[in-house]
Symmetry: C2
Subunit: 126 residues, 2 copies
DNA sequence: TCCTTGTTTCGACGGTTGTCGATACAGAGG
DNA sequence: CCTCTGTATCGACAACCGTCGAAACAAGGA
């Protein structure tokens, strides 16, 4: 129906995937179903080689951001495919995109990765 | 052809998914294609709510291990399905299984989770 | 030996995902 | 206005994935 004028900025997905409950580890307690669904979305987004490389390319690039035009050339894939992968990462809140003039720049959401990292950071064995 | 007598212990998957190159972060350098494929396997294994809960159930259980019989009851899923998910986690080297008498016990591979956690642990922004 | 219970494998089914080409949208510059 | 380039969406297709029931395998007990 209504067309959005800022297709990049829109929070296409379900938005924040439970960012509040930040400090529970996998080992502390059995991980409820809802939270598991939220987390699985993030891991699934990272479960593709191309998306993992995109994430790394953006994160390691000068200034912590990268233009889409810099990313498409790296892979032997079509433009739409790269755009699709970026959308998946966006919907998992792992990256954010911003249009500046002609080009669109993406940067990683650092808190997101930190959050996941902490989840996997196991306390010493009981 | 030849049937294996210990179906649980066999390293069904491609084995170690690049466990040696442990200390590179996502942000340090662009992440080569091969390594991306290896890591994607691990994240894909964690990209399912059921598998995530299985991982958490095993990790948080008494003694750091859990019997399959304790896991099947938790979910509204058939036995074969649970077994399938455990196999995926096993092939990603996230858990290991051991048969003791009638029952099979699984435990998490802690170094594996630590390894992934370190990968996502970003250095402070440039 | 046969039976029973726990676990895995097999074969099949529907739903999801990665990929593409075609198309539409956004902005810059004639 | 029109055109050109960069990016996103759409529609379709094959491949993959989660699930099940049926069947096979493993170990223990009658």
């Amino acid at each position: 129906m209504s067309k959005k004028s800022l297709p990049v900025v829109d929070v296409t997905g379900p938005g924040d995937v439970g960012a509040d409950e930040c400090c529970s580890s996998l080992t502390s307690e059995p991980l409820g179903e809802e939270r598991a669904v939220e987390l699985a979305r993030v891991f699934k987004a990272m479960g593709d080689p191309v998306r993992l490389r995109l994430l790394s390319l953006i994160a390691s690039n000068q200034g912590g951001e990268a233009c889409v035009c810099e990313l498409t050339g790296v892979f032997d894939l079509s433009g739409p495919t790269i755009s699709h992968h970026l959308k998946v990462l966006r919907e998992a809140a792992l990256i954010t995109g911003e249009r500046r003039g002609t080009w669109v720049y993406y940067r990683v959401v650092r808190e997101r990765l930190t959050q996941v990292s902490m989840l996997l950071d196991l306390a010493p064995a009981t």
